[in-house]
């Protein structure tokens, strides 16, 4: 048999095997119910509800190590379940197993009803109310804030506006300098920054005024554009790779469930996010105003831990790194970790490092008696 014939027969054999796997994947998907794919399952109980926003307290799973309560705040683009995707890949479980007292603020599913909510409301009302409630429940006057992505911006603003209530600030994959992507030479980094700057401010107004929100599906399509081939190969080649391994197949479905659960971003808050921050870069310029007060990063007096992903295509590392030079606190730690924006939380390798870095830092802070005033 000639080389050409060998190749042809190998190709035919591979394609037949692939067709069989696609068929198997189709059957598996058809036989799996949505309720079989669980995310965000770590036990917690509801402590407070304010409009659609809920404050939860996670059940402890280990003896307490750090004393200060930690409030986890995710952003409004996507949901907190990324930090609790599955038991063996969960930042939440990991932190609980290290003895932290963990609380969660869940923004729920904003819709057109939340059109008029601004970042002012999220920072000065919802987060503030949650912090007060945790203080009331635990007797601590100051708490630790742990912000993720846009939630990191909210907690950073809160730490600047209410320094008397924040003992430590931990932010992960958080944009601070929204124009620092310009320095990043990696071609696949920062498309979101470039795309937002390419729009006129009136386009953003019109988008929000037309839909009443920044639609979740719209943001999903922008994110898909950032990894074009990955998005195209997801339901064919990626499925072929996982179909013979039930654990991997379920991981795939959990990730899909998280991606599909993308809420709408409240309208007026989206205008601030895209125009004031992405386009005008007001946070680092010192002209971002919430509830009539300028957010002065120099007012952040608490110790700060800033963790970012070195291959983050959504928030380029330099956008996060910028915080160090802007804050008033002298106690600033920066931990760059390998991985991407989502991989930092869901990949089995990096999220172990992430939770260990946070827990070690918080334990060290708690051992320092100076900061609880």
């Amino acid at each position: 048999m000639s080389d050409q014939e060998n190749q042809a027969s190998r190709f035919a054999r591979d394609m037949a095997a692939n067709a069989e796997k696609i068929f198997k994947a189709t059957k598996l998907i058809a036989n799996t119910r949505d309720e079989d794919v669980s995310i965000g399952t770590t036990p917690k109980h509801l402590v407070m509800r304010r409009d659609k926003v809920e404050l939860f307290h996670y059940e402890p799973v280990a003896e307490a190590t750090a004393r200060t309560p930690v409030l986890l705040a995710y952003g409004l683009i996507g949901r907190y379940t990324m930090a609790d995707l599955q038991p063996d890949r969960s930042l939440v479980r990991s932190l609980l197993s290290k003895g932290l007292d963990l609380w969660l603020i869940d923004w729920g599913q904003p819709g057109r009803t939340e059109r008029w909510l601004t970042i002012d409301d999220y920072v000065d009302d919802y987060i503030d109310a949650a912090v007060d409630r945790i203080a009331q429940e635990t007797g601590h006057h100051k708490i630790t804030l742990l912000g993720i992505c846009e939630g990191g911006v909210f907690t950073t603003c809160y730490a600047a506006l209410h320094p008397q209530k924040v003992k430590n600030l931990v932010i992960t994959i958080t944009p601070i300098d929204f124009h620092a992507d310009i320095k990043d030479k990696a071609a696949h980094h920062g498309f979101l920054n470039i795309w937002t700057r390419s729009l006129d401010p009136e386009d953003i107004d019109k988008l929000v005024d037309t839909y009443g929100v920044l639609p979740g599906e719209f943001m999903s399509s922008v994110f898909s554009m950032m990894t074009p081939m990955r998005s195209l190969a997801k339901y064919n080649v990626d499925l072929i790779d996982v179909v013979d391994d039930e654990a991997k197949f379920m991981n795939f479905l959990r990730m899909e469930k998280w991606l599909a659960d993308r809420p709408h971003h409240p309208g007026e808050a989206a205008k601030q996010w895209l125009k004031d921050l992405y386009q005008e870069n007001r946070l680092v310029e010192g002209s971002f105003v919430l509830s009539g007060r300028q957010v002065d990063l120099k007012s952040i007096a608490a110790p700060v831990l800033n963790i970012f992903a070195l291959d983050d295509h959504i928030i380029p590392p330099d956008c996060s790194r910028a915080l160090g030079a802007k804050i008033g606190s002298k106690d600033y730690t920066e931990i760059p970790l390998p991985g991407g924006h989502v991989g930092l939380f869901v990949s089995s390798k990096s999220q172990g490092k992430l939770s260990q870095s946070i827990a070690d830092w918080l334990l060290a802070c708690d051992a320092n008696p100076v900061s609880e005033a």
Binding site: H188, D203, Y211
Partner: protein, 224 residues
């Protein structure tokens, strides 16, 4: 108790009431269609038959509709008529924007295919064995990804997607205007009504919470 608050009289059949309501709605709907076909439609259909492929041709048609409907409003001409025409005009406007975007967005595939064929040809002539489908796909994916991402960052792509977004939003906004007018005709609350209510609710909540904070702070000061 007002007349409308009174419970239905005995023997008043809710199904009959519903049928009457439905009939009224159907009649309104028919009137809407009549108004539409009695004015704009013949003009548009005539223009369409003159230039079946020329909708996007300089957008002459949409410009003509815009000029027509932007004119003075006449008391006895239905407003919905004008709004449907505007939505139609926005749809016509969007077509060339979509075509431009598709042209710009599909351009990198040609370069990706060229590069991929060169890579595979080079692999075929080398001493190493010919890549299997997985290796070939990985290479194809890597090359295409590079080309697509490179393209996305060009001014041409960004401009095309911005114009498509603007045209899409204009269409959506004009469709909403039609829906709003129809809602008013049927006595239903509109999206704007809903936005007004939620705005008032949000502002009221802010005021109440600010007052609650003031009261709490004063109590706190008093306790000191």
């Amino acid at each position: 108790m007002s007349e409308k608050d009174k419970p239905p009289a005995d023997g008043q059949d809710p199904a009959l009431e519903w049928a009457k309501l439905w009939q009224t709605m159907a009649e309104s709907s028919n009137r809407m269609v009549e108004a539409w076909s009695g004015s704009m439609a013949p003009f548009m259909l005539a223009r369409l038959s003159e230039k079946p492929a020329g909708f996007g041709d300089g957008n002459e048609l949409s410009a003509a509709i815009e000029r027509m409907v932007q004119g003075p409003r006449l008391a006895d001409v239905w407003d919905i008529d004008r709004k449907i025409a505007l939505a139609f005009s926005a749809w016509i406007e969007m077509r060339p924007r979509l075509a431009s975007y598709n042209a710009v967005a599909s351009a990198p595939w040609t370069e990706a295919s060229k590069r991929f064929l060169e890579t595979m040809s080079a692999a075929g002539t080398s001493e190493t064995s010919t890549p299997d489908w997985r290796e070939a796909f990985a290479k194809w994916s890597e090359i295409s990804n590079e080309e697509l991402i490179r393209n996305q960052r060009t001014d041409g792509f960004l401009q095309a997607q911005k114009e498509l977004l603007q045209a899409g939003l204009q269409l959506r906004s004009r469709q909403d205007d039609v829906a709003e007018t129809a809602s008013v005709m049927f006595g239903l609350p509109t999206r704007r009504d809903f936005d007004d209510v939620t705005r008032q609710l949000t502002e009221l909540r802010r005021e109440v919470r600010a007052l609650a904070r003031q009261v709490r702070d004063r109590k706190g000061e008093g306790a000191l």
